[in-house]
Amino acid sequence: MSPHLRRTLVVVGHGMVGHRFVQAAIERGLTETHDVVVVGEEPRPAYDRVALTSFFDVGAEALSFLPTGEYDDPRVRLLLGTTVEVVDPAARTLRLSDGGELAYDELVLATGAAPFVPPVPGHDLPGCLVYRTIEDLEAIREAAAGARAGAVVGGGLLGLEAANALHGLGLETHVVEMAPRLMPVQVDDAGGATLARHVEALGLVLHTGVATRAVVERDGRAAGLDLGEDGGTVEADVVVFSAGIRPRDALARAAGLDVAERGGVLVDEQCRTSDPHVWAVGECAAPGGRMYGLVAPGYAMAEVVVDALLGGPGAFTGADMSTKLKLMGVDVASFGDAFATTDGALEMVLADAVAGVYKKLVVSADGRRLLGGILVGDASAYGVLRPMVSSGIDLPDNPEELILPASRSGGAEVALPDEAQVCSCNDVSKADIVAAAACDGTTRAGATCGSCKPLVKKVVEDYFASQGRTVDRSLCEHFAMTRQELFDAVAVHGHTSFDEVVAAHGTGRGCDVCKPTVASVLASQLGRHVLGEGRAVLQDTNDAYLANIQRNGTYSVVPRVPGGEITPEGLIVIGEVARDFGLYTKITGGQRIDLFGARLEQLPDIWRRLVDAGFESGHAYGKSLRTVKSCVGSTWCRYGVQDSVRMAIDLELRYRGLRSPHKLKGGVSGCARECAEARAKDFGIIATEQGWNLYVGGNGGATPAHARLLAGDLDDETLVRYLDRFLLYYIRTADRLQRTAPWIESLDGGLDRVREVVVDDALGLGSELEAAMARHVAGYRDEWRDTLEDPDKLARFVSFVNAPDAPDPHIGFRAERGQQVPADPAEPAGPVVLGSAIPVGAPR
């Protein structure tokens, strides 16, 4: 195909599978030859439907796969809020709901599935809802307001998630399941009974083995369910149908494409429909006549179609329907031949009704191979067991140890073969992970449901161990501990000096790595002056002289300008100081003014002038809070909905001087236009009509990261409380020089873990962290003012100890664009430096 003749590929549907298809198309180069148009019916881009239950906690944005609303690849165009009304395979065109028409060369149907609503009388009454999209959840939330009780029709996986949502909204919640047990597709009777005990303990009311005969009507609204003679009537103001899903194949049917007997667009192994230019993937497709209602097979189909369009041989030949999930805090997993349908299959069962655990292994007749299993209450073994099924490796001699509680087993070790599939969502094998570990590459393992993460971690660690490498998190040769361990040790023992710390926990006399780290930990815990009590010698040169060293050995000076708000008088003072000391001035990215070219011995005189005029240290030199940037906000801006400047000033003054593992930056935007670029900050706050959204973990720099939503629509007080907790949790547990984004990434559970600790207070640390921050705020003093008042501290600010006012002759300046800049340094005269070549350090 000529690269000059670009072809058009249209994707109908922007759900999880449609999104995955586009991602794969971009990654594998399909967009080099194809323009891609994605037509999505929902008002927002693809989001994580698997995690839909968390919508009420985290909001829509946190679930989004594409928060920016567009793909990085400009050859992909996304049409949202648009449906395809007609497909004409003969003409290769389709008509859109907005009246537009699109021509395609290749068409991919990813229209998904729709909830099945059984046609019982009253099923369409107001108050009857389904559970599939964010809009559905919004409708459920709205209906639940003022409602007393809710009922879910369907006790399968999705039904229980819907029930969890109703329960979380404070409704008395009923679950009606026609089968004799919950989750009939995944678990057996004993497993279902164990699950039922857990669910009932949470206060849900179960009605199994009964059919819904009708929705009871009162005042034109749903008021309950009629469960027939056996089940009686259940009162419910909200009814959610979750009785399975049906492929959305109407578009294909109307276009004359073949469909499967039980629904779904019939496709071959390459996911091609009966028209050679139309493909179908995900829940709307029926490879070989069978529909797959899980995301992993949909992802596999998406990859297969991209491969086929690139001329590859990929084929979809069925999928692992294993499931693992956590429902209302209860682990449930089902994998392989869970119901022992294989000839001669044997079952091995561990049931502990007290602990609420049920585990079943299905093994082959000869007892050598694992065929499948069910885990309820504790699915920690899933990561090891499921790959054993797909790889067919021999069971260990005592297979029961695989399901015994960890405390009672020797922890059966199973060596997986290379081809074992570790991540079933993304089809990543052990060999893929090892290969990625060997070259510092990445895989998608664990990126979808996350259930395989512990196994991925173990595979990576085993690989490194096999290479004789251990993951060494020692700070340096003097401390065989991480920064967090050091932080805890200092707190527990109440150390107040480096000498105490190194004597108790280290060796030698320290270095440029551990000394500033200990200094930072002491600063976080003691809150005393960084140059006091012998601590000056621990500090990096920037902290040691409360200024930023520049390439010629001079320093730059940055007074604090909270929120970037400054009076004309303030500007004049800074200008006068710069003029009088001949300093180069530049506006920083943090909305303040940097004054360059100050000699060491000039720093006190410069700061005396600044402090007298009311300025204080901006801590531009510290691993500490730098600035909280703001837009002009509702005071001036016609779009602003909150006073972002006020909030930025409050936060900057609250957290000024706070020492942290790395620099910290904040931002506050007064509306969703986000002019303060708050999401590029460690903590970013964006105003909403109701309050503030709090984002965390953003940064610019070499590895840019967008901050992600931690919590939404907060009032001022809650915002500050969450921020206090977030910042101190970070300060206490992050590694040295680890910014918030990689720190969050490093936590087991990532952002969810941060949310548990900060928002849900899962560790019960909330009040302690808030108290620690209150101490910081109360104990804050301007470091420069204190330095100017202390002759001992000032004594260090000299050019030469024996000629305090003589300027270092090595420092020279030249003029550029009307200001002074460093002149190229001359080699010192006199003693020679041995060695023929002198490498020059980093260029700046």
Binding site: H478, C511, D512, P516, V801, D808, P831
Partner: protein, 123 residues
């Protein structure tokens, strides 16, 4: 205090400061015969002197580095790009081809005296 014997001619030494003017595990910069010399004091009160000029960054800054140990070697880390220098020999610990000059230094009656640069013929 120093491992090195003072040169014969006491007139060649410049008094730079009292020993207690140099914090333990820190350096000060002294002006000696027109040259910037970094004078360091270790935790056990040994005193060393190196040229203050950091050949990597080409700036006069070594006295402002952090002083500690690498193994048994007392060293200073350049405040600019962290290369380490052996306080006893001036040898860069991160690049065998680089070395900074050392100066004779003694402490007499609590006063730190810096002598001429030492040229080590052996290397």
């Amino acid at each position: 205090m120093s491992l090195r014997a003072p040169a014969a001619d006491p007139a060649a030494y410049t008094s730079v400061c009292r020993l207690d003017r140099i914090p333990r595990e820190a350096g000060v910069c002294a002006l000696v015969e027109g040259q910037a010399v970094a004078v360091f004091r270790t935790y056990d009160d040994e005193v060393f002197a190196l040229g203050n000029y950091d050949p990597f960054s080409r700036a006069s800054v070594l006295a402002r580095g952090i002083v500690g140990t690498r193994g048994d070697v007392p060293f200073v880390a350049s405040p600019m790009h962290k290369q380490g220098f052996d306080l006893r020999t001036g040898q860069c610990l991160d690049d065998a081809a680089v070395r900074v000059p050392t100066y004779a230094v003694v402490v007499r009656d609590g006063e730190v005296l810096v002598g001429p640069a030492e040229v080590d013929a052996g290397s």
